[in-house]
């Protein structure tokens, strides 16, 4: 037990002293996950609306696909993205391999099914009278999209927070696509895996504490938003 307590005290010291390597991983994580969640929500929310609102052939099959993608292993996403952005891959020319943008691409694929599924669910479960009200007040298709997303805004925020929680805590994509390069693409989760493997328990704990803090914030947001959404 002694080395665990020692690890915690050293971890706190690393964080409070502003240890550059530790904070570099934190900065990379915040940077890449913020980029990922912005793109995820911007693309996922309209797609979720279309899936929940429109009736078209193959909709149920598409819904099943999205629901299946919710449990897609991160290493498989990492593998697919690696294949696409490696030099010989179709997107190799963009030079995304071992960059934060490359990690973000994988994380968008990870977060999108969560946002699409949750928004589609919220739109499907929205009051039946909403569509008729918007139509009779003269809303166009785009205005209906905006108004409906506004009506389910707490569900949309809830979906964003849930997706962020998954994105920030993933390790497979960051490791495979980012390559865990020190000062560059090393994120909190890849650093924890590496440092713990090297026996640098304190740094792993320090980074784990930051991740826990983020998860705590995410959970507070989720519980608050759930209350608002239920109103």
């Amino acid at each position: 037990m002694g080395f665990i307590f020692e690890g915690f005290s050293t971890a706190l010291q690393l964080l409070l002293d502003g240890h550059p390597e530790t904070w570099s991983a934190v900065a990379a994580t915040v940077c890449v996950s913020s980029l990922s969640i912005c793109v995820t929500v911007l693309l996922g929310a309209p797609l979720g609306f279309l899936l929940g609102y429109c009736r078209f052939p193959g909709r149920r099959a598409m819904r099943l696909c999205v629901d299946t993608l919710l449990s897609f292993p991160t290493v498989v996403i990492g593998l697919m993205v690696y294949g696409f952005i490696s030099r010989s891959g179709p997107l190799g020319g963009f030079g995304l391999l071992f960059t934060l943008q490359g990690i973000a691409l994988g994380q968008v694929l990870l977060g999108m099914p969560i946002v699409i599924a949750m928004v589609a669910n919220a739109v499907e479960n929205a009051d039946d009278r909403l569509q008729m009200t918007l139509l009779t007040l003269g809303a166009s298709g785009r205005q209906q999209l905006h108004a409906t997303l506004w009506e389910v805004r707490y569900h949309l925020m809830l979906a964003s927070v849930a997706a962020y929680g998954r994105i920030v805590s993933e390790v497979g994509i960051s490791m495979m696509v980012g390559g865990n390069i020190k000062w560059h693409t090393r994120t909190i989760t890849t650093a924890i895996a590496l440092e713990t493997g090297k026996g640098e328990f304190a740094m792993g704990v320090a980074l784990g504490l930051v991740l826990l803090l983020i998860a705590f914030g995410v959970n507070i947001a989720v519980s608050g938003l759930k209350r608002r959404a239920a109103r």
Binding site: D127, R129, L130, M132, T133, L135, T136, L137, G138, A139, S140, Q143, A147, W150, E151, R153, R231
Partner: protein
Amino acid sequence: MTALYACSNLLQHYNGRPVLSVDALSIQPGSITGVAGPNGSGKSTLMRILAFLEMPRQGRIVFDGVPVAGREARGGTEPAVLRKQATLLTQEPYLLRRTVADNVAYGLRVRGVARTETRVALALEEVGLVPAEFMSRQWYELSGGEAQRVALAARIVLEPRVLLLDEPTSSLDEESAERIRAAALHMREKHGCTLVIVSHDREWLSSVADSMITMRAGHMLP
């Protein structure tokens, strides 16, 4: 005078079950038409068709002399265009999850009207709600009757050519029902609005309507 609505051979069915069959219906501009009948007689379906929210399986609708595009009629005016002229207040209206002022102003904003405050306040006064007291209230801070009147104000503010009211007094007390009656008459006098009103309260309906339609089992009774 050209009829505002000229409908012929309207037939609507849901999942093969016929719910509405109207041979001919004509509504004159500026008139107030009352629609009465028991539950399930097709009144609400007729209202949704007149509001261009759904198109009949068969039949022809001519609005203001121009055919409306539908399942059988191609090349007429699109229902989406006409929805800007005819608006429906449903039996249990839905309020958007925003303030009363934003609810009433929504239809104006989708029409590109920027300054809405004065018109919103006037519409609220029209339905008997004090603007200073209600404008900033949230949707969940209203009683059933207040919500009904806010929804009516959201239609009145648009100054539509056609106002369709489906059971507008069902959750209102006598005084509020009288207020709705006055607002309906005012809409016609001031804006030349054509009204079609569904109500179970025949006495109230006959006090406001010029002519009456009685429906039973999807048909209009002679």
